[in-house]
Amino acid sequence: MLSTETIDGVLIVRVEERRLDASKAPLFKEHVSAALGGDVNRLVLDLGQVEFIDSSGLGVIVSVLKRLGPSGSLAIASANSAVRRLFSLTRMDRVFILYDTPQSAIENLRA
């Protein structure tokens, strides 16, 4: 469901599902929680393989942001047009920054 990598203290979580929807949200939440160790507070969510997210999937992403706490940051990378539309409809594009590639997200979190 996901794979992770750490670069310069930034945790990259690559979602390996085509759809993050209500049928997968509970398991997705478990897996991301497990990936978040105690001291991670900068995270890039790589959505390059994701074609579709619904409100349940978005809810999990918001819950991750909350878990990172006030000092944490969560950037979104490689969202396709359908996912970008979800973020703009729900105004979550004001809460999360959407980067075209994981690389540019990492650079910005590091800076």
Partner: protein, 144 residues
């Protein structure tokens, strides 16, 4: 071309994705990509709600999806026989009111489905008669 499609699926969240993609494919020559993205999202949220709330997440009941392609619009009907939605559910709501000033801790994690249905569709209607609920979602064709 005016055509109709009727899908019957089990009330199983795992079946929602394939059906939503089938609806999208059927409309793929009629709507543009942005409208297709919105249609797919609205249909998914509506089906999820019927299964999660109407049928309390239980498999084994039928949900019917009807797609009508008209000259000027696409109409998707979602038909179920679960207990109907409370009328209050359909009142316009904004789960993101005050989001600009909000702390992350205040952001909503749920309760966004009905608002998304309204935002992605041009018209939303709901009727419940003789134990049959019909949610009618209409997407108008953009005048190209």
């Amino acid at each position: 071309m005016s055509s109709s499609l009727s899908l019957k699926i089990d009330s199983d969240l795992a079946g929602v994705g394939p059906v939503a993609r089938a609806v999208r494919a059927l409309c793929s020559e009629t709507l543009d990509e942005l409208a297709l993205d919105e249609l797919e999202l609205g249909v998914v949220e509506a089906l999820n709600n019927v299964i999660k709330h109407g049928y309390a997440g239980q498999k084994g009941s039928l949900v019917q999806v009807r797609v009508g392609l008209k000259a000027d619009k696409v109409v998707v009907e979602i038909i179920d026989q679960a207990p109907p939605m409370p009328p209050s559910a359909l009142q316009p709501s904004d789960p993101w009111a005050g989001i600009d000033a909000a702390e992350p801790q205040d952001l909503p994690e749920g309760g966004m489905g009905l608002a998304l249905i309204q935002m992605t569709m041009d018209e939303v209607a709901y009727s419940s008669r003789k134990g049959v609920n019909t949610l009618t979602l209409t997407k108008l064709l953009s005048r190209k």
